[in-house]
């Protein structure tokens, strides 16, 4: 495959709600290379779902251009649909149907024969640990099984690019970890490009090669999890003093470190942000030694993606969820 699998420029969507224009997505530029696992992060209302719906042809952009899996999103949506898989958050199977039949019927809509679809479906069932569930009704499956069934439905036509919309939301920790291995296997075993949205920073951290952060309808950051952490947060330095009356002097020392921001004092601890934790640590220990200050602990830690997210958007991922009813009406302008 030549060039990026997803290439979008200025992709935008405006809704009209009660005569007011709502710019759900202001203008998204993004590139995803073949074989990447890309995480798309952002609080609800940031434009995450709208962008995903545009890229999967479910929603027409009001401006911008995009090529998805080699086809133009605007002029050839059917070509895009043929080449992508989409696993939506709301599921894909009727609760009363039979799991296997739902997979086969879905594949038939891509032009596969029933025999091809059955063979491929059964293989996917065994790869996704769904053995023996072919005849079961989706309503009788566990949450994790149902999510894997949705993934089987989304993959049955062998797409080169798959969109996963919050794949592990609502799953217990074991089922989540299990699903992560399946998602990684998609890339390792068949080279599928994966574009996923998530609310969980640990998920993005563990799973994704690259992270895109969207806020207020714009991409505000892009990079590997490590790049993002070092780009935004620096390192977090924590010093615990032995004598409470020396805490002020320690704070002054921490604040004087190379590239440090004003530290905070919490009880007997001083917490500061520095650009490079390792170098700062050495510098600080020397300084403390010179001033003859005894400490009971010192540590430097890499910021978590949560620190990054807070720094970028001013919001924590989970705090920033408006009620679902606040989503704008989907009326084209």
């Amino acid at each position: 495959m030549l060039g990026p699998v997803i290439h979008a420029r200025g992709l935008a969507r405006t809704f009209r709600k009660k005569k007011q224009e709502v710019h759900a997505v202001v203008g998204v530029d993004l590139d995803v290379e073949a074989g990447e696992i890309v995480g798309f992060l952002g609080p609800n209302g940031a434009g995450k779902t709208t962008t995903l719906r545009m890229l999967t042809t479910l929603l027409e952009p009001t401006a911008g251009t995009a090529t998805v899996a080699g086809c133009d999103l605007i002029t050839d949506p059917v070509g895009v649909r043929r080449r992508i898989g989409y696993v939506s958050q709301s599921g894909s199977t009727a609760p009363e149907a039979r799991a296997g039949e739902e997979v086969v019927d879905h594949a038939r809509l891509y032009g596969m024969t029933t025999a091809e679809a059955t063979e491929r479906g059964k293989r996917l069932f065994s790869e996704l640990d769904l053995d023996g569930l072919w005849e079961r009704q989706p309503k009788t499956l566990s949450g994790g099984q149902r999510r894997r069934l949705d993934i089987a439905v989304g993959l049955v036509h062998v797409p080169e690019l798959v969109f996963l919309d919050e794949p592990t939301t609502g799953l217990d920790p074991q089922a989540r970890a299990n699903l992560w291995t399946h998602i990684q296997a998609l890339r390792e075993e068949r080279g599928t490009t994966v574009f996923l949205t998530t609310h969980y920073l640990d998920e993005a951290d563990a799973l994704c090669d690259r992270i895109l952060v969207i806020d207020h309808g714009l991409i505000v950051a892009s990079g590997t999890p490590d790049e993002l952490k070092s780009q935004v947060g620096g390192d977090v330095l924590t010093v615990t003093v032995q004598r409470q009356d020396q805490v002020g002097e320690v704070a002054r020392l921490v604040g004087g470190l190379h590239g440090a921001e004003a530290p905070q004092v919490v009880d007997d601890r001083v917490v500061g942000r520095v650009r490079h934790g390792g170098a700062a640590l050495v510098e600080l220990v020397r300084g403390l030694d010179r001033a003859d200050i005894a400490i009971s602990g010192i540590e430097s830690r890499r910021p978590s993606l949560d620190d990054v997210f807070l720094g970028l958007t001013g919001r924590s991922l989970r705090d920033a969820e408006p009620p679902a009813s606040a989503a704008p009406e989907e009326v084209a302008v």
């Binding site: 042809t57 479910l58 649909r81 992508i84 709301s90 894909s92 199977t93 009727a94 809509l109």
Partner: protein, 252 residues
């Protein structure tokens, strides 16, 4: 065209399979027409002198058939809302399948069910006293199938627009009761006072019912019969246009 037919077949088979697997639905579907005929039909027998030509069942059965076609089909949207909530509609919309097929396959299922119900209704009425020409019955079933397709399409389009049972149910109720009462389905409007007849004349469904009754009496050439058929065709085109337009729209 080939893919349209194929996709329609896939959607139809899936819908039909799910309907047939639901025993409660099967029983209700079979019982409804029988209940109407057995529990309501006898009330009309003493009135048959006042109802005009033919026996009571020649008046009553076509009315119930039309009612099935319209009001039975209007409720199919509830099933679509459930499918929407389960994510089925969206997952079908990201496939390259023809948008028209996603609607047509479902409507076809509803029409097949309707024709089976209608045939059952006619058969049950025969031992109770229905006498009608076969051609008239077949023409009426064709009219009912068209009506059913029209109202099923409208129902699906509305359901896809509203996406909530709480909004869909009151809308249907607001529509169904006045239209039913003004259509002469249960009793012919000839029994009504002048002013009520005038209002019901505006209701196209009244003419559809009159047309079906003409068919049952063997009056194939009468203006009433062909007015009814023509209005049915017009409704079918309109309903189909509305449904397809809704299903083709990107944002739904």
């Amino acid at each position: 065209m080939g893919t349209l037919l194929r996709d329609t077949g896939t959607v139809f088979r899936r819908a039909m399979r799910m309907s047939l697997r639901n025993p409660a639905w099967l029983v209700i579907m079979m019982m409804q027409p029988i209940l109407y005929i057995v529990l309501f039909g006898p009330l009309l027998e003493p009135l048959s002198g006042q109802l005009g030509a033919g026996n009571a069942y020649q008046i009553f059965v076509p009315g119930i058939l039309v009612q099935l076609g319209i009001f039975g089909s209007l409720f199919v949207g509830f099933g679509l809302i459930a499918e929407y909530r389960a994510g089925v509609i969206e997952s079908q919309r990201v496939t390259p399948a023809s948008r028209t097929a996603l609607l047509l396959g479902r409507v076809l299922r509803d029409v097949v069910v309707l024709v089976v119900q209608g045939t059952l209704l006619v058969l049950v009425s025969i031992p109770l006293g229905l006498r009608a020409p076969l051609l008239g019955v077949l023409l009426t079933l064709a009219v009912v199938a068209l009506l059913g397709a029209a109202f099923a399409s409208i129902s699906y389009a509305l359901a896809l627009t509203l996406k909530s049972e709480d909004a869909f149910a009151p809308l249907l109720n607001a529509f169904v009761l006045p239209v039913l009462l003004l259509s002469g389905i249960l009793l012919p409007m000839t029994l009504a006072p002048r002013w009520l007849q005038t209002i019901s004349d505006i209701n196209p469904l009244k003419h559809v019912v009159s047309g079906a009754r003409e068919f049952f009496l063997g009056g194939y050439g009468t203006p009433a019969a062909w007015w009814g058929a023509a209005l049915t065709l017009a409704l079918a085109v309109l309903g189909w246009w509305f449904g397809v337009r809704r299903f083709r729209r990107e944002s739904s």
